[in-house]
Symmetry: C3
């Protein structure tokens, strides 16, 4: 697999418009700057049309929703669709409440998504799979998570990214299995939100027919940067890891990503 | 005093629902993860009932209030009360404005609180003591702060926690005086907000008749983790302390907390 | 140039009221604490009048606007004006959308500003200069940026601060050129927002006829603290720099600021 989108992000500094939650806003902005993109966080409906059209990608994150933010997401999403700007959805905790499920359904109906990034539980919900019966712990069936990933991709005609101990990326036809990362990643809050934003940055510099490769590179660069940040740390050093991870996102090179990448294609099983 | 709730938090990973302010959201979520709990920050009234019932504790923080958030707090609080989920209130800056005083009065009338955590000035306001005449500086009368703590506990039939250079915890009948901590703690923003959230995590794993002990252990573990993080730092190293404190919250053991704990019972004086 | 306002901030701990964005809130509060001020972040219209009158400075930041926040800014700004409390405006991304341009025009009409702090692109927009034609990159004409600074100061009868690789500060009659700083500063999000807040802290302890000197000292102390934090770091160590910068804001002395200061007066050219 050829890696070249990290270099593109750094040379083009794409403007990434984020409608995100109050927990993730600062960390996502710093992570986007580190990886080479230019973040803007804004969620007032009055400026959504202009901002979405100015931007190179739009990232919608439902972490701390309210009615105004949903309206902003709809206006921004439609505007991005008209402008040909890729839209990434992060369906944070979509299974937790009816409000989140309904909101995500509305967003899925109204907006054409370039990618959806979630954890296994969130994506199982989108695939209509009774995941909670199995729990959302890592290791509860790797093949199944891959199948869920492909099912979400097919159902919503998008690139689906499921992150966890193992990451899965699919466009519904192909399924990549990624094994970079560290247990320290889920120990810091909004590390999934930042990955969604980073996927937005990589899609921003890719042609629409190569979003699958861009998402795979985004996840791989993210995982390799995390591995490098975690080197030598104990598993309780959450805070130190968070800071080193920002350093590492800025420092990691394409060569380092390529050398450390653990990417393989897998067969898609039925859900 | 037996310490066992930190271990319970780590083994049960209780879901802690926070309705909190835009300053504290990220740090509180990371601190809760570090201590072993699972944070969710959400404040849209549409999902409050479901979330409060799903959660093992609810933490209400009035730092950046607005009318919608107050409604969310009321719905979530009543739902938590019905479900038997402990509710912790952090009355940030309650003495500063009529809006905060009125909001806190409404919350106190409508919601049964398992604990209230504030600084001396905030808790004096709740106790109806003319504290501002004395100033809110540390050292302006230790016995008085203990009396204020007990008065808040009695008046609102709750566990009251007053944090500062010395912490006080009372259920109105007993009063504990805690002397762990570091001057670096108030040098980082929202360290009080995180303590309230951590109290929520400890109460989440305790039976209702043992909330006093759970709150004492929460404050002691917090103070000991802070002492360990501050070791070797200069008093200007605010940023470094903030990061090491997250590491320390994740690393500190029950044995370390018990060995370093400075807890004593005190007589309750009249306010 | 005599530096004495940093010492005043530390001895008086002025209360700085911030109506700010969800990205900057936590970092700005920590930076204000580090420099010696006491931050309060609040934006509910119900408490704006009381808070603005209690505070020693008010900082308005339009990063993540909405209609409610605009009303809060207007009420707080007018209240601060009546109380003689200095108001600082940070017109984040004012050129990006009509909503931001209109909001800033309303704020400029309704509120008397002690200072406006922005980057070159934002301030060119306020000066009515066609800056986007030249790009907003550093090095696109130092004399021009100085002229823009003075033009904003004259047009709005305020102290104008343009930060970038070189900082410019003007009251419309005099123009100071400041050359402290580090390329790591723009690599961390909301470093401009924090500078605006720090300007608020310095103006809070200055007489109104000395706001120019206070703003120059604020920018210089900020730049020198950043230089000291960056010493020995690689330009990819964004996260480490962010933490060390908070440490450095707390540790830097007036003597260190004075010794490292690179401040000169310049002639004001026509825009």
């Amino acid at each position: 697999m050829q890696f070249h989108y990290l270099a593109e992000v750094r040379s083009k500094n794409p403007l990434i418009h984020n409608i995100t939650n109050i927990v993730a806003a600062h960390f996502s902005a710093n992570g986007l700057l580190a990886v080479g993109a230019s973040p803007i966080m804004a969620d007032s409906v009055e400026e959504m049309e202009e901002l979405a059209a100015l931007s190179s990608a739009l990232v919608l994150n439902i972490g701390t929703l309210d009615a105004d933010k949903i309206q902003a997401m709809l206006v921004a999403g439609r505007s991005a669709n008209r402008a040909g700007v890729p839209v990434v959805l992060d369906p944070v905790g979509v299974g937790a409440t009816a409000f989140r499920r309904d909101t995500v359904q509305t967003l899925l109906q109204e907006i054409r998504l370039a990618a959806i990034r979630g954890n296994a539980g969130e994506m199982a919900q989108l695939a209509g799979v009774a995941w909670s019966a199995k729990g959302v712990d890592a290791g509860s069936g790797a093949a199944d998570v891959g199948a869920i990933t492909a099912a979400v991709a097919r159902r919503y005609e998008t690139v689906a990214v499921v992150s966890g101990e193992t990451d899965y990326v699919s466009d519904g036809l192909k399924l990549a299995v990624l094994n970079n990362g560290t247990p320290l990643l889920p120990s810091i809050t909004t590390s999934g939100c930042l990955l969604s934003a980073v996927c937005g940055a990589f899609l921003a510099v890719a042609p629409a027919n190569d979003y699958l490769a861009a998402a795979i590179e985004a996840c791989t660069a993210y995982g390799v940067a995390a591995e490098r940040a975690a080197a030598g740390l104990q598993n309780t050093q959450h805070g130190t890891f968070m800071i080193r991870f920002i350093d590492s996102l800025a420092a990691v090179t394409t060569e380092q990503v390529a050398a450390a990448a653990k990417v393989r294609w897998a067969d898609i099983e039925a859900v």
